[in-house]
Symmetry: C2
Subunit: 234 residues, 2 copies
Amino acid sequence: MPYELYYWAGIQGRGEFVRLALEEADIEYIDVARTTGGDEKMMRLMRRERARPSFAPPFLKVGSVTIGQTANILLFLGERHGLSPKSDVGRFWTHQLQLTMADLIAEVHDGHHPIAGSLYYEDQLTEAARRTKYLREERLPKYLGYFERVLAQNGNWLVGRRLTYADLSLFQIVEGLRYAFPKAIKRLERNCTRLTGHHDRVASRPRIAAHLSSDRRLPFTNDDLFRQYPELDS
Amino acid sequence: MPYELYYWAGIQGRGEFVRLALEEADIEYIDVARTTGGDEKMMRLMRRERARPSFAPPFLKVGSVTIGQTANILLFLGERHGLSPKSDVGRFWTHQLQLTMADLIAEVHDGHHPIAGSLYYEDQLTEAARRTKYLREERLPKYLGYFERVLAQNGNWLVGRRLTYADLSLFQIVEGLRYAFPKAIKRLERNCTRLTGHHDRVASRPRIAAHLSSDRRLPFTNDDLFRQYPELDS
């Protein structure tokens, strides 16, 4: 029985981090968001799930079990489908990197929504401008510098000699940042050349390349996690 | 060789979530923050660690390996020291709950620091008041209602028939919220009576009770994750 991925239809969002892993590992899955009434199916399952409800999407249905939280789904896929090392040391290190990326992603989201996710961006413009300044000038350089340091130490991939789910997520972050902050990321990548090379290495994996050019890959938009507001970039 | 826990001296912070697990499982550990020059030792190790550097504390040194990210450390302790189920289903479900708590904790932090962690609270007062209103009125009810629902379904503990590291973290969150938002949490707990019972159940575990009354448990303060600003509570 194929896995079922549940996430909001119409955006990449956090679901895309799971999609990249499913695609790279060539796992058969149903992307419920791409089926008719996807959002309704997701909401219904979220309400009905008794034993292990998810606080928010994405979640993955594996037989009768649902697994939620992006990094947790990736931990599962990593262990079961060879997207993380078999050793405990490698497995926890991969997950540590993923959780640091989860923090980065939440900070990017809160750049355009510093007050509340339930408000429109337009209702928190001033705060967004103020917060994003620190995101661009302090946080992104610190995060990207960190991953650059890990790549400098390890080589082609973040962990060991093979691609892991963390590499796929780092690729997606660079993609998202290039969309959201084209000016800032251009400057940042100048000091993070390994990150750029790493991005290209992931993009050229045959299955990732196939995914990116398919209609399963939605474009970035300003309803998504990474948003392009020129007033927030410089 | 005992584990070494590295975290900022002087606060509970995210380190306390790890401490509670170490204490409950009766694991021998050195709390480096409670030794002379703890912060310096931590900063030195963060700089020096080449293979698996941490982006931020806490991190746990296990022999020659360091493991970072609070939820990841707990995943490790859970697997190795019986603080999570042995089954994959139970293990991933426990971690899913923990990651949802990690999201909650980050939102609590950003209540008093909605613009930047590098600024003082006093430099983001207006934004903090605005963000915390949504935290109190939308986010905390949603999060606490979620954990109440999980307890209603499962019973005494969040997962299965035994305490897991997720139970310890939920206890610490209720402790922290009672400190930070005494008025709001009083109202919220009225609708989350299972959460209150769960808190008391964890507090009365002999090793947790011993920890809480020891000098290893620092008091909450306004330099910490959970902060008590009366103007942010109502």
